[in-house]
């Protein structure tokens, strides 16, 4: 049973950032803008917020510092994604091009800035992890569930789950969500009933930027003690989770947990007696999440359909 607790706790570290970033991508793509820049935006958000933690941690620690860092990550991500929004929406340019550009600019400038700002031109940004919650008061004492969800956890896990609930509500139960989906399916029709397609799409991309920036921080905090200008391809994986999740919140949640579980098995198998005893080399375990995703996709994608207008720049003059 201990192994199960361990597995679930570990799984959160992988699944939650994927969930947050994929939900972000969902807002962008459902509004009609492909956001391949998720990886770069994650790096940008992680960079500024970890740099902040690194500089403030001598005087502050714990959840307050983390909350400030979260705000910084969100703001950075949103601002950085403005570049993509401007090119993709206002200039109607190819969305792959500006996305790819952002993916190149973010890690390179993170290294450049880190080496300029930090003494001795060090590239890694070090930080001390003071954010782990040993046990949430009261909730942590609930049998089974308490150990699964409320021990050895991070506040970001609950924020991620909260974002999921809000995202699903906003997309399906609000006027904004309806308009967002309309812009991603048929912007001309949306425009004809008085919706400002450009504004909605800007909102979609900005939300995706905010969430991707946050996701960058959420990914780095539990898995490392320094930030080296990379989020190990998690932005691209989130893109995969988004497509696997069929651009729908609940399915994205499932896809993120599925992938997170596979990833946990592959990285923490040595902590699980049954898997350790199989004697399979670690490189094979590391392939498991990707192979499993491919197989799952092969069986489930036959009727997969992206938002109809996703990737197509909206031109008001075009009918």
């Amino acid at each position: 049973m201990d192994a199960v607790y361990f597995l679930v706790q570990q799984m959160m570290f992988f699944s939650i950032p994927l969930l947050i970033v994929a939900l972000g991508g969902m807002f962008s793509e459902r509004s009609g803008v492909v956001n391949i820049a998720l990886e770069g935006i994650m790096v940008s958000g992680a960079f500024t917020s970890i740099l902040l933690i690194s500089n403030l941690q001598s005087g502050m620690s714990g959840q307050l510092l983390l909350l400030i860092a979260i705000v910084v990550a969100i703001v950075t991500g949103a601002l950085f994604s403005l570049l993509h929004a401007y090119a993709a929406i206002s200039l109607r340019s190819d969305q792959t091009i500006s996305g790819t550009a952002l993916n190149m600019i973010a890690p390179a400038s993170a290294i450049y800035l880190a080496r300029m700002i930090q003494p001795n031109g060090v590239q890694q940004v070090q930080f001390t992890n003071t954010f782990r919650i040993e046990k949430v008061p009261l909730l942590g004492d609930i049998p089974v569930l308490g150990r699964l969800l409320f021990q050895n956890a991070y506040i970001t896990t609950y924020i991620g789950l909260l974002i999921f609930v809000i995202a699903a509500f906003v997309l399906y139960r609000t006027r904004f969500g309806l308009r967002l989906r309309a812009c991603g399916e048929h912007p001309q029709a949306a425009d004809s009933v008085g919706i400002n397609v450009y504004r909605i799409r800007y909102a979609g991309v900005l939300i995706s930027g905010a969430l991707a920036g946050l996701g960058g921080l959420v990914y780095v905090i539990p898995t490392s003690t320094n930030f080296n200008a990379t989020v190990s391809g998690y932005g691209f994986l989130a893109l995969a989770v988004l497509i696997f999740g069929q651009w729908k919140p609940l399915r994205i949640l499932g896809a993120a947990f599925f992938f997170g579980l596979m990833k946990t098995i592959s990285s923490a198998y040595s902590g699980i007696p049954f898997l350790r005893d199989l004697g399979i080399p670690s490189d094979i375990y590391k392939m498991v999440p990707f192979i499993a995703t491919l197989i799952a996709l092969a069986f489930t994608s036959k009727r997969s359909q992206a938002p109809r207008a996703s990737g197509v720049p909206y031109d008001k003059g075009l009918r």
């Binding site: 091009i97 952002l102 391809g233 995969a240 192979i291």
Partner: protein
């Protein structure tokens, strides 16, 4: 004539983007260290020439794999596919060519590297074809398949190398390939070197650059002068229309991805069929950067194979310039920032191109009108 004008205007769009990117880079240099900024920009612009003919050779050497991956990405773009998997295809091709280069020593002399190269190409083709098959038959988005295959290639190759006689455990990398499997210099070492004392310091450039340029020209002919290429492009422009015209969409997708994979596979072979001092596959968990740079090369070259030769050379040129930038106390990462900015501005320059095209049309109209009247009268 209109073809020439079109390619000229798209070239000018790329040039505008490059100019804007360099200006932005200069601003960054100014902010980080104003005293050296002018010198810094000059160093970037001079690129390989900073170190005479050897530096120029290094530019060609760095350009070789990214021209190949640029072709791989650009070719897939033409069929409407985004090949983000060039890096995985490159590694699979590189791995297989190393395998052949190390173990198939029974092959006579010159055949060895050619066979190793071809096997690398075939392996890349197979890896790229998986993406096409998943897309065509199972409707799986090519981006997601490519991303998954990248990581499968990465860990799979690590596993295969570590558990075979290809592993140099001391250096944590692959062993050297046989001397007969190394890509020959083809006389380029007689051109690209500098003299240091009594010794010639020779550049790493080899016949790979000639192969890359030849393949780019071949791809240009394939895309623009053959029915097959026309069908591929037709699928890229409008899937439904080309299906209506009797073109098999599935076949186009699969073959286009196979060819793209083959081009990346050759990139890997050209990289790793190297002498002991050259590149080896390291047992690290990092995807080969050349695959992603290929996306930038393809975008800057507007997916045109000939354009890709030049954009690959340009990106290699300023990357080499970045190495020399470090002597001025600048970080070489600024080059990647500049390349990113150039790509970003090239998104703008589609707009510039439209403006140029419109202006050109207007002028053409004005020029035509009197002649029409003459014809009437």
């Amino acid at each position: 004539m209109s073809n020439l004008r079109k390619s000229l205007s798209s070239m000018s769009a790329s040039l505008v983007a490059i100019l804007a990117g360099l200006v932005a880079g200069f601003v960054i240099l100014l902010f980080s260290n104003p005293a050296n900024a002018g010198k810094g920009l000059l160093t970037i612009l001079i690129g390989g020439w900073n170190n005479g003919m050897k530096g120029v050779g290094q530019v060609l050497y760095y350009a070789t794999p990214i021209i190949m991956t640029g072709l791989a990405v650009g070719f897939a773009f033409k069929t409407g596919m985004f090949n983000i998997g060039a890096t995985g295809q490159l590694m699979v091709g590189g791995f297989v060519s190393i395998y052949v280069g190390v173990t198939w020593t029974f092959l006579p002399g010159a055949f060895h590297w050619i066979v190793a190269l071809l096997m690398g190409m075939l392996a890349g083709m197979a890896w790229g074809m998986i993406v096409g098959v998943f897309k065509a038959l199972l409707n799986v988005h090519e981006v997601i398949t490519s991303i998954m295959l990248n990581y499968i290639a990465l860990y799979g190759i690590n596993y295969l190398v570590k558990n075979s006689n290809l592993f140099d455990s001391l250096r944590n990398q692959t062993v050297n390939v046989a001397a007969t499997a190394v890509i020959p210099k083809a006389g380029l070492d007689k051109i690209f070197y500098i003299t240091k004392g009594r010794l010639n310091d020779v550049s790493s450039v080899n016949a790979g650059i000639l192969i890359a340029i030849a393949l780019a020209i071949l791809m240009y002919i394939l895309l623009n002068k053959t029915t097959f290429g026309f069908e591929l492009k037709a699928c890229g422009y409008n899937r439904h229309a080309s299906r209506y015209a009797g073109i098999s969409e599935n076949r186009a997708i699969i073959t286009s991805m196979a060819i793209a994979g083959g081009l990346s596979g050759i990139a890997g072979a050209l990289m790793y069929l190297a002498p002991a001092s050259g590149l080896h596959i390291h047992m690290e968990e990092v995807l080969a950067a050349q695959g992603f740079t290929g996306i930038a090369v393809a975008l800057l070259g507007m997916s045109n194979p000939i354009g890709i030769i030049f954009s690959g050379l340009f990106i290699a040129h300023i990357t080499v310039g970045g190495f020399y930038l470090q002597s001025l106390k600048y970080m070489k990462e600024i080059i990647e920032v500049i390349i990113g900015l150039i790509i970003y501005f090239s998104a703008f320059s589609l707009l510039v191109r439209d403006l140029i095209a419109k202006a050109g049309k207007r002028r053409a109209k004005k020029g035509n009108q009197p002649s029409k009247q003459e014809a009437v009268s």
